[in-house]
Symmetry: D4
Subunit: 250 residues, 8 copies
Amino acid sequence: MDKKETRALLEQVAQGKLTVDEAVLRLKRQPFEDLGFAKIDHHRALRQGVAEVIYGASKTPDQIAAIAAAMLRQGQQTILITRLSPEAAAQVGTQVKLDYREMGRIGIVGALPRPDGLGRIVVASGGTSDMPVAEEAALTAEALGNETLRLYDVGVAGLERLLAHLEELMSARAVIAVAGMEGALASVIGGLVDCPVVAVPTSVGYGAAFGGVAALLSMLNSCASGVSVVNIDNGFGAGYFASMINHREA
Amino acid sequence: MDKKETRALLEQVAQGKLTVDEAVLRLKRQPFEDLGFAKIDHHRALRQGVAEVIYGASKTPDQIAAIAAAMLRQGQQTILITRLSPEAAAQVGTQVKLDYREMGRIGIVGALPRPDGLGRIVVASGGTSDMPVAEEAALTAEALGNETLRLYDVGVAGLERLLAHLEELMSARAVIAVAGMEGALASVIGGLVDCPVVAVPTSVGYGAAFGGVAALLSMLNSCASGVSVVNIDNGFGAGYFASMINHREA
Amino acid sequence: MDKKETRALLEQVAQGKLTVDEAVLRLKRQPFEDLGFAKIDHHRALRQGVAEVIYGASKTPDQIAAIAAAMLRQGQQTILITRLSPEAAAQVGTQVKLDYREMGRIGIVGALPRPDGLGRIVVASGGTSDMPVAEEAALTAEALGNETLRLYDVGVAGLERLLAHLEELMSARAVIAVAGMEGALASVIGGLVDCPVVAVPTSVGYGAAFGGVAALLSMLNSCASGVSVVNIDNGFGAGYFASMINHREA
Amino acid sequence: MDKKETRALLEQVAQGKLTVDEAVLRLKRQPFEDLGFAKIDHHRALRQGVAEVIYGASKTPDQIAAIAAAMLRQGQQTILITRLSPEAAAQVGTQVKLDYREMGRIGIVGALPRPDGLGRIVVASGGTSDMPVAEEAALTAEALGNETLRLYDVGVAGLERLLAHLEELMSARAVIAVAGMEGALASVIGGLVDCPVVAVPTSVGYGAAFGGVAALLSMLNSCASGVSVVNIDNGFGAGYFASMINHREA
Amino acid sequence: MDKKETRALLEQVAQGKLTVDEAVLRLKRQPFEDLGFAKIDHHRALRQGVAEVIYGASKTPDQIAAIAAAMLRQGQQTILITRLSPEAAAQVGTQVKLDYREMGRIGIVGALPRPDGLGRIVVASGGTSDMPVAEEAALTAEALGNETLRLYDVGVAGLERLLAHLEELMSARAVIAVAGMEGALASVIGGLVDCPVVAVPTSVGYGAAFGGVAALLSMLNSCASGVSVVNIDNGFGAGYFASMINHREA
Amino acid sequence: MDKKETRALLEQVAQGKLTVDEAVLRLKRQPFEDLGFAKIDHHRALRQGVAEVIYGASKTPDQIAAIAAAMLRQGQQTILITRLSPEAAAQVGTQVKLDYREMGRIGIVGALPRPDGLGRIVVASGGTSDMPVAEEAALTAEALGNETLRLYDVGVAGLERLLAHLEELMSARAVIAVAGMEGALASVIGGLVDCPVVAVPTSVGYGAAFGGVAALLSMLNSCASGVSVVNIDNGFGAGYFASMINHREA
Amino acid sequence: MDKKETRALLEQVAQGKLTVDEAVLRLKRQPFEDLGFAKIDHHRALRQGVAEVIYGASKTPDQIAAIAAAMLRQGQQTILITRLSPEAAAQVGTQVKLDYREMGRIGIVGALPRPDGLGRIVVASGGTSDMPVAEEAALTAEALGNETLRLYDVGVAGLERLLAHLEELMSARAVIAVAGMEGALASVIGGLVDCPVVAVPTSVGYGAAFGGVAALLSMLNSCASGVSVVNIDNGFGAGYFASMINHREA
Amino acid sequence: MDKKETRALLEQVAQGKLTVDEAVLRLKRQPFEDLGFAKIDHHRALRQGVAEVIYGASKTPDQIAAIAAAMLRQGQQTILITRLSPEAAAQVGTQVKLDYREMGRIGIVGALPRPDGLGRIVVASGGTSDMPVAEEAALTAEALGNETLRLYDVGVAGLERLLAHLEELMSARAVIAVAGMEGALASVIGGLVDCPVVAVPTSVGYGAAFGGVAALLSMLNSCASGVSVVNIDNGFGAGYFASMINHREA
C-alpha cells in the first residue's frame, strides 16, 4: 500500500466513510488468494498486464492445474509454466489447454501476448547442449511481450559463426548470452555490443566445469562492461530480466 | 568496422577513389591509439558520447595522467577514473584537473554530463561499510548521464528504514542494491519493485562471509524475479549496466 | 555421575554398605541399554520427561520397531521417529502403533505431550518446497511439549505476506526460520522480532544454491542480531533447540 | 509501527485530533536519528532497556564517539562497542568515558547492568588462542544483563579439564562453546548438558583449519542435539543470542 | 632390486657366470605377473607373508576370481577382497571359496592368519552408520595378522559410552577412530590414549557434512597430538596402516 | 577470411568483376553447413586433412549419424565419435559403418589414417580404472595420424613397473599421463622424460579425490617442468593436443 | 584418574584413612597446574618421560618462559618449544637457557634425550622450501627420543635423488614425507618402503597449490598403502606421531 | 643411468676394467652437485644445451649467486633466474653479471641463445596487468632458444585488437595465452589457430576471480580443442612447455 492509497484511506476515515476497525482490517487485508498449498498474488498479475508465471519444478500436476485455473478465473490472459517435465505436462494438459514446448520445458496457457517492448531481445547460446536453457529464456521473454531472435550454436571456438550475426547482435535492445563450459560467450558479446548483456551460465560440461561454476565465475569476471549474471541454468530469470530492460514500464 | 562502413569502403574501391592496397591497410588499421602500455579505444568513446573510463587499479599515476591527456586531446568531455587511491589521485591531480571523490575512490576529469536517461537510478546499500562500493556505482551512473538517488544504511535488519523509502524505490527505472554479509537486500528490494535490480555483493563481513562469497551466492539465488548480479565489489559494473538500462540507446 | 552421586557412593563405602569392588563396578556401570545395534540412553529419556527421539534414516524398520518397543517398555510416553520414509513407516506401523506425518517424514508413537513451555514457537518457511523441513521442526517441537504456529510460504520476495503476520511473530518465544535459495528470511525476521531466531537452511534451489550452502552462508552472515544456525535441512535440530529455549528446565 | 499504534493513530484522525497530512507525515516519520554516516535506532534501545551496541570495526574513532554521545543524550545507560582496537579505544577515550577490555576488544560506556536473567551463562573455550572471542561473548552477555562464568582452556584433548567443571556446565541456562581447530568442544559439551549450546567457531588454527571453516563445519554437524552455531569469531552474536535465551522477555 | 642384489649380480658377471646380455635382461625383468588387465606383484606378497589385497571396486567378478586364483597358485595363504558388493561376492563365490562379510563389504579367501602383532588394535566408531567403514578397517587388520577389539556406537555426544571403555582404549597398541559428521571422536580419543590414533572420516551425515569433508577437516585439525588421517571412508587404509604400527617388521 | 583472400576480393571489385553487393554478401557468407541442430565447419576438416570429430555425449544417435553422413558427403576420410555409449553406438551402426571401441567409448567411421607425425606418442595410465580415459586419448591420437604406445597400470605406487619402460618413455615425442587419485604419475614422468607431458586427471577415486579435483590440482602443481594439463577425464583433448605437438603442421 | 587409582582411593576411604570430603576433593583436584593463562598437564609429562611441548605460536615470550620455568621446577628434563620466531626466541633466551634452531623455528630447553626407539625415523622432503617443516618434524622426533635421518631435496621430479637413498628409506621404522606443491613424494615413498609413511603437506607453492590443499588432497588420495596424513605444515604432529610408532610404549 | 650406460658399465666389469666395488659405487654416484642447500643437476643442463633455470622465489640472494657461480663453473652458457625481486636482483648483481628484466621479474646470466626452434612462439595477453606473467613466459622461451612475438593488451572485450593480429597468430608454432579475470582469451585464440595453445591463468582480478581460479577453470573448460593449461601465474612453465613443442629434440 503506497503513500497515495494510505492518504485516501485516512481521508475516508476522517470523513467518517470508513470506521477505524474497517481501516485496520483493510490495512491488513492480503492482496493474494490462498489455495492452501500456494498464495497467488493477483496484484502482481494485474500490474504487469502480461503473463503470470508458475514455477513447475516443486508442484504436482494437480497443483499446477489448480493454480492455472484460479489465474484464468481472475482474467489472466497468458500463463507461463516453467520447469515442466513432459510427464507433468501430459497430466496438466488433461485439465487445462496447454501449449507445451519440450525443448525449454515450458508450458503456455492462453495466447502469447503481442510484443510491445522497446526493441528486440537476442538470445545467443554457445552449444547445442545449452539450448534448453536458451529456450526457457526465449519463451519467457516472449510470454512477457517481447520480440526475440535466437542465435544458437555460436560458441567462441568458432568465432566466425558469431561474427556472421554481428548486425543482429548490435541492433538488439538486450542480449541474453547462454553458455556452459568456460562461458566466454558473454565476454565476447559484451565486447561487441552496446546494449545490456544478461549472462546465463549453464550446467553443461564435465570435470572442472563443476556443474556450471566455471561458466558462472567466468561471466562474473567478464572483462567486458555491460554484463550481469543470473543463477546457473536460470533461463527464466534472464528472460524476465531482459523483458524488464525492454519495457519502459517493466 | 560494421557493415555500413565496409560497404562505403568497397564503393570507394569500386569507384577508383581508393587503391586496393590502401583499402587493405585501412581494413587493418586499428581503431585505437597505442600508448605503449595501453591501447585507447576512441571508437567506443565517440559512440557513447558520455564518459570514457580508466580502470585505475593497475596503472601508475603517470600512466593514468597520460591516458587522460590523450583522451582529452581526442575531445572527450568526461573521464571517469575508478579504483583510484588517494595517493594516486594526489599525483594525477598535479598533471590533469581532477575532481576526486574519496568515498568511492573515483576521480573525474571534466564536467559530469547532464542526465539524459529514461528515469532515475536508485542506489541502495545495506550498511555503512558498503558505502564505498555504492558510491562507485552512483558516480559511475552519474558520469554516464544518469540522475541518481542514494539510499544508504537501509539494511534488511531494520526493515522500516527501507520501507520508509518505498515510494522512491518504486519510481526508479533501475535499482542498484549493494550489500555484503548475507546480501538479502537484493531479494527484499526485488520483491518490492517492478524495475530491474542490479545486485552488487560486497566483500564486507568476516568469517563465513568469505570476502563476499556469501552475499554473491545469496544474490544469485534471489527468490525475487528481476535480479541480476555483477562481481563482488564491482560498483562500476553495476553503474554501467544500470545506465544501459536507463538509456534507450545505451 | 555427578558430584552428589559420587559423594553418596563414597559414603556408602565409608559406611561399609558397599564393598570397594562393588563401587568400582558401579562407577563403570553403563546408564544405557544395549540392543546390539544401538545403545539406548534411558537416563536422557527420564531426565527430559518428554519425547525420546529415534533417528530413522540409518536404521531398518525392524530396528526402529525394536528400539521403540524397548522405549515403551521403559515407560516412555512419546517417541519421535525422524527421517522416516513412507515405505519404512508402513513396515514399522505393522509392529507398533504409529501416527505418521508424511510431509515432515516423522512418525509418532504414543500421544503428543501437552504444551508446557514458556510461550509459543513460530515456524516460518520461505516457499512450499521448504515445507518438509519446516514440518520436521514443528512436529519435533510439539513432541517436546511446545505450542507451535506455522507460517508457511512467507518468503521475502513477497514481503507483505510476512508483514501480515507481524503480530504473531512478535509474540513468539522463539522463531524457527526455514528457507532455501538465498535464505534471507532469517535476517528479515531477525530484524523484526526480539526473540531468538533459529535459522534452518534448506537444500531447496538449484545451480549456485549448492545444495543449501548459499542459504547456510547467508544465515551465518545475518546482519540481524539474535540469529543462530543449524545444519542444512536439520528441522529436527531446530525444533529441539527452540524447545530448549522455550523451557526453563530444558 | 505495530497494529496498536496504527489503531491509535487512526482513532486520532477519526476524532479530528490529527489532520490527514499530519498522520501521513507521522506514518512516514523514521524511528531513528540520522547522523549522516549512521542511523541510530532509538526504538530498539528503549525496547530492550539494556545495552545498545556499536559495531566498531568499520567506523572511525570520531564516528564511534559521536554515536555514543548521541545515545547518551537519548538516556542510554550502557553502550557496548565491539571490535574496538586499542588504538581506536585510546582515541574514543578522549571524547567519552570508556572502560576498555583489550582481550575482548570491547569498550564499555556507562555501567554494566545488574544481571536480571533466568540463570547463568557459561562461556567455555578450547584454547588460550580462543580467549579473545570468548571474552567478546562474555562481555556482551554481561552488558545485556547476564551473570556469566568463564571456563577457559578446557579443550577436548584434555578431557579431565572439562569434566572437572561438569557441575557448573550442568547448572547453566545456556552455554557458549568457543573453539577453533576441530571445534569438537561444542559436541562434547552438547552431549553433557541439557541447556542450549551456542557454538562459536574461531579462526584459530592453521593449514586445513581454513580460517575457521573446519570448526564451523564440525559444529554444524554436531552429533549432539541442542547445538546451534553463529558466524566464525562472532563472540558478540553468541553473547547476544544466549542473553535472549536467558531472558523471558529478550 | 636393492644394493645387495645388485652386487651379487655384478659379481656373477665378473666371475663369468652371467653374460652381459643376461644381466641387462635380469635388471629389466619385472617382478610381477601380467594378467592383461592387472599386474600382480608377487614380491610384495612374499615379503609380507600375510594377506594379499584385491581392490574389488573397479574389477569384474571374473577378474577378481582370476586374480585370486593366480595368487593361490603362487602359494598365498590369505587374500582380502575389499569393496566387494554382495552381488559380486555371490559370483566370485562360485569360482573360489569365499568367506564374505557383508557389513564391511569384504571377502576373504583362505584362513585369517594368527595374530602376531606387538599388541591389540582397537577400532572405535561414532555411530551405527559408521560401522561398514569400521568393519572394513577391523577385517583388514585381522587379515594382516592383528588382534582387534571393536568399540562401536561410542560417539562423543554420549561421552559415558566412550569412557566406559577407557581401559581397553588405554591398553591398545593403536586405535582406529572411525567417525562421520563432526568427527570429534578422533580428538577425544587422541586426548585419552598414549598410542597412535589413525582417524578415518566417513561420508556419513548430510548437509554441511559434505560427504565427509567436515569430519576430514575436523580430524586434520585435531587439537590432540598423535592423530593422523586417511582418506574419507578408507577403512582399508587405516587397518593397513595400524597393522604396520603393530608389527616390528611391517 | 585472411588478408590474402580479402585482397583478392577487393581486386575483383576494383576490376568490376564483382559488384559491391556481392562482395558484402561474400564477406558475410558462412564457411559452414547448417544442419539445423548443428553447424559443420568444413573448413576445419579440409585444413587438417585427417579426422573430423563429433562430440557424441549431447547428441542423439540420429543426429550423430546425420552429421557423419554429411561429413562423408564432403569427402571426409575418417570421423571420430567420442563419448559414445554402447547403446548409441548400436543405433548409429545401423545407419553408418562404425568401428566401435567400447573401452574408450569411441566410434570410428572410415579407416584410421597412416601415422605421419614427427615421432611416437606414449599414453601412460596409473591404474586399470583410468583405462577408458587413456583409450580415448590413444584412439584420438591415432585417428589424427599418430603412432601410439600404451603403457597401462604403471602407477607410482609400484615404481618398478614404470621404470621398466623408461626407454620407451624417453624416446617419445610426447607423453600423455592419465591418472586419478593423487595424480602423481604426471610429475614422476615429467621428471624422467625430456618431451612435453600432457596430463589428464581422471575422476577415478573416492572421498577426498573429489571427482578428479585432487588429481587436477596435483598435476597443475607438478614440480617437474614440461607438464601441462587438460580437463578432468578429457582424454580426447589430450590426444588432440599431443597430436598437434607431434605434427609440424598441426 | 584411571581404574587403579580409583580403587586405591576408595580403599583408603573404606579403611578410614581418608574422609569422604577429602576424597571428593581429591577426585576433583586437577592434575594440572594453572598459571592463569595456561594449564600445565604434569601428568602427561611424567607419563611420557621425554620432552614436554609448548606451542609457541600463540603465546608471548614471557608466557613461554614462565611455562618452561614451571616445567623445569616439576623436574622436566627436555622442553620443546615449537613455532618460535627468532624474535621471540631472543626474548625467551634471556630468561631460560635456550638452544634455538632457526630453520625449524624450534627452541629446546634442557638436553635432547638419548634415542630409545625401536628403529630410525627418516625425514624426507621434496624441495628446499619444505625444509622448515621437515626440520620441525625431525627436531620433534629427536626431542622425543628418536634417532633420525634427514633426506632433503629428494623431490620426485628428480627421481634419481630419491632412489640413491633407497637403502636408508627401506631400513627405516617410519618415514616422514614432507612435500608441498603436488605432494607426490608420499605416494612414491609409500610404494618403495614397507614401514608406515606419515605424510606432511606443506603450504609451499603458489596459484592452484592453494596454500597446501593440493598437496593435502594428493596425500590423502595416495595410491600407495601405508600412508597417513597430518595437517598442512604440521611438522610437529608428524614427528610426534612417528615417535609413537617408533616406541613400543609410546 | 639409462640402458646403454648400464651395459657399458657391466662390460667394463666383465672385462676386468672395473672392480665390483667401483661399479657399485658408480651406480650409486649422484649425477648432481650438492651445495648443501640445493642439489644441482648437471645432467639436465648438459642434456638441453640451453639455459639452466634457478627458481628464485625461495632462495636468498647469496644462495642464488652461489648456484649461478657453480653453474658457470660447469660451463653453462645461459642461466635464467625466475621470480627474482628487484631487491634480490640488486644483491645478486653484485656477485654475478646479471641482466635483470623487472617486468617479468627475471634475471639472465650470460647471453640469450640464438633461436633454433621449429617456428615462432606467440605470447598473447589479455590486459596490462597480465604483462608480468606474459613477460616471464616470453623471456623463458627466449632463454631456451625460441623466437617470440609479444601481443599484449588483446583481451576479448575488444575483439578487433586480437583479430588485427590474426596473421601472426596463425603462423605461430605455439601460442601462449595469458589472461586473468574470465580467461576467455585462451578459448578465442584456440578457436582461431591450428597450433597448440598453452594457457596461463593469472591471479589478476578481484572478487569472484578468486586469485586466478575463475580463469583457471575457464581455461580447463575451453570449448576449443588444442588448449592445455599450466598453474596460475606460471609464465615460466608455459614458456618451458612451448619451447618443448617448438623443438624437435626438446
